[in-house]
């Protein structure tokens, strides 16, 4: 209905290979960006208390979107299952914590980005078995990572500077003259930092998956034997996927602690969280970056919404939590049955409908 594609022709491959070749889509993206940068920081979300909107919804959702993109690279684009996501986030968080204590004066943003590399390294290490083993066996490998790392987070006191509480507490840090971490940091500052990092990482992910590397990932996913016979080296390809994926998880882990929680213990990185992130990927849509946004947003906000509903009908909140557990489970199964490509595909279909409106095909 809104699309007027006639007359939008491409006279170079660069134009043709853009992420959003259609003018109308470009406009759409622009609108989203405007809202994110100009509306939310001032007004939060319509109908919600400002602080709540940022602290309880926007910031976590944006952070988890990074996680989801990361996990999606591994599961959705490369077809390798991982249940170690939370642990890899932990690696990011703890290494960022250590880095800040070693380099207190370095711009925290830089530290956050660098902490991703530790996660990447660990991820690649635990990705090694993926060369020999496939599918469910890989699940075991990643679970090994999950539990081993959890153990490390508890046992290796050095990681949390032997803090008796066993938790890592975020010190106050500044970047570009703003307080971005610690109790004194304004929600809006943290929001803007996270948002910007997310967009940056999204662009990079988009570039990767559209290019040579992304194709090699998908080749492995779609038909690993054929891929190998075309000359794709399984090891390097899978490892790169693990590394990149874990890098995203690492960064998001660091952000989670530094920009959102403010302090964290091993519980924030346990296996149940790994499941949660996997759900975000599945529901959002395997192999879709847009889907990662939707998945994260949905899985995160859904329970909150239910809770609100519960409040209205004065239902015991724990009941509502369980209801949301069940509901999400059901949705996962339903999505897998009806539309294995998740919300992203639904979005796609809707868009397609608009493009050929008023015709059905």
């Amino acid at each position: 209905m809104f699309y007027r594609e006639s007359g939008q022709f491409k006279s170079s491959y660069k134009e043709d290979m853009q992420a959003f070749p259609i003018r109308e889509d470009k406009i759409g993206i622009a609108v989203w960006l405007l809202l994110a940068y100009l509306y939310v920081p001032f007004f939060g979300l319509p109908g919600l208390e400002y602080g709540f909107a940022l602290n309880a919804i926007m910031i976590p959702v944006l952070i988890f979107t990074i996680t989801t993109i990361g996990l999606n690279i591994l599961v959705g684009y490369t077809g390798q299952i991982s249940l170690g996501t939370a642990a890899f986030m932990g690696v990011g968080a703890y290494s960022c914590y250590k880095l800040t204590s070693y380099f207190p004066d370095v711009n925290i943003i830089i530290l956050i980005f660098s902490s991703g590399f530790f996660a990447a390294a660990v991820g690649a290490l635990f990705g090694l078995p993926s060369l020999r083993i496939k599918g469910f066996y890989l699940v075991v490998a990643t679970l090994a990572a999950q539990f081993f790392l959890e153990w490390c987070f508890i046992r290796i006191g050095w990681l949390y500077n032997f803090n008796p509480s066993g938790a890592i507490e975020v010190p106050q840090r500044e970047a570009f003259g703003f307080i971005v971490t610690g109790a004194a940091a304004e929600p809006v500052t943290r929001y803007l930092v996270v948002l910007t990092i997310l967009i940056f990482l999204t662009i990079i992910a988009g570039n990767l998956v559209r290019g040579r590397i992304g194709r090699s990932w998908m080749m492995i996913r779609d038909m690993d034997i054929a891929a190998e016979l075309i000359g794709v080296r399984p090891l390097t390809t899978k490892l790169s996927a693990f590394a990149v994926s874990s890098y995203y998880c690492g960064v998001s882990g660091a952000l989670m602690v530094f920009m959102w929680l403010g302090a964290a213990e091993v519980e924030s990185f346990d296996v149940n969280h790994s499941f949660l992130y996997l759900f975000m990927v599945i529901l959002g849509g395997l192999g879709s970056i847009t889907g990662s946004y939707m998945g994260a947003a949905f899985i995160w906000t859904f329970p909150l919404v239910l809770k609100e509903i519960g409040k209205v009908f004065e239902i015991n909140p724990t009941v509502m939590e369980n209801v949301s557990l069940v509901a999400i489970g059901v949705m996962i199964v339903f999505i897998l049955i009806k539309e294995p490509h998740g919300l992203a595909r639904l979005w796609q279909l809707g868009k397609q409908k608009l493009r050929i409106w008023p015709f059905p095909h």
Partner: protein, 271 residues
């Protein structure tokens, strides 16, 4: 059988060069099963070489030996006059051997053009950091190879399905896309595993034309497995006949057709 030590000239006047690949006394077993028994033949530069035989004759296994997916228990594979050590298939692909598959092995998550692009992977060199920025050299590289792929797409006349997800394509077209993908690798040796299996007459004619054109245009050496005798006979310069993993004959189509053993084992079966 005429002496072709220094290569030979085909009827349609193509010069066939020296030996590109030679298989010496190949024997391949799966557990107890003897898939190939002591088979030896060569493939020459620029020629269209056919491997035929009834079902279960070991044709596909032979192809899998050539592109290193199976490692024969006995025998040697010589490529470019050098004995080929046992190495993973990915490395062999890098030596310039491409193939298509009997039951199509396209990447179903991708469109036609993306599938063809996968054939260029090996030639793309720009490192990770250029890739993630996707500017300058990386983008240049991408466009250069895209152009190459488009030329192949144009060559195989699949422009109309350029951006269609391959999963939704009819069988015949999928086969063509697979050929395009293999061509994109600019292979020295192109292996075609039953390129016309399950095609109707017109599709077969098209495919034959394309195979000939490929050989003519790019001078690609082609080794193909085919069931349909007639097709092989007008396509191939030389034919190897396998039966139960043993070699029955090796020669020009006519020679082979006259060969009694072949007639008994194969043609007899067919008619």
């Amino acid at each position: 059988m005429k002496d072709i030590a220094q290569g030979y000239m085909t009827e349609d006047g193509r010069q066939i060069g020296a030996v590109l690949m030679e298989l010496k006394n190949i024997t391949l077993k799966f557990g107890g099963v003897q898939a190939i028994t002591n088979a030896s033949f060569d493939i020459r530069e620029g020629e269209i070489r056919a491997i035929i035989g009834p079902n279960g004759a070991g044709k596909s296994s032979m192809l899998n030996v050539i592109n290193g997916f199976y490692h024969p228990q006995e025998g040697e594979v010589w490529f470019h006059g050098k004995k080929r050590p046992s190495m993973p298939p990915s490395e062999i692909a890098r030596q310039g051997i491409a193939r298509t598959f009997q039951n199509i092995a396209l990447f179903h998550g991708m469109t036609t053009v993306e599938n063809v692009m996968t054939g260029r992977q090996l030639m793309m060199k720009k490192n990770f950091f250029w890739q993630l920025l996707r500017v300058g050299p990386a983008l240049e590289e991408e466009t250069v190879h895209r152009r190459k792929c488009e030329e192949i797409i144009d060559f195989l006349e699949i422009q109309a399905i350029r951006k269609t997800p391959v999963g939704s394509l009819p069988y015949g077209l999928q086969k063509r896309v697979e050929l395009a993908r293999a061509l994109a690798m600019e292979p020295k040796l192109l292996l075609l595993d039953e390129p016309m299996a399950g095609m109707n007459v017109e599709e077969k004619e098209d495919m034959s034309r394309f195979i000939l054109d490929v050989n003519d245009q790019y001078g690609t050496t082609i080794a193909l497995i085919e069931h349909d005798m007639s097709v092989v006979m007008d396509l191939a310069d030389r034919v190897v006949v396998l039966d139960y993993g043993k070699m029955l004959a090796d020669g020009t189509p006519d020679e082979v057709q006259k060969n009694q053993a072949v007639i008994d084992a194969y043609l007899g079966v067919e008619n």
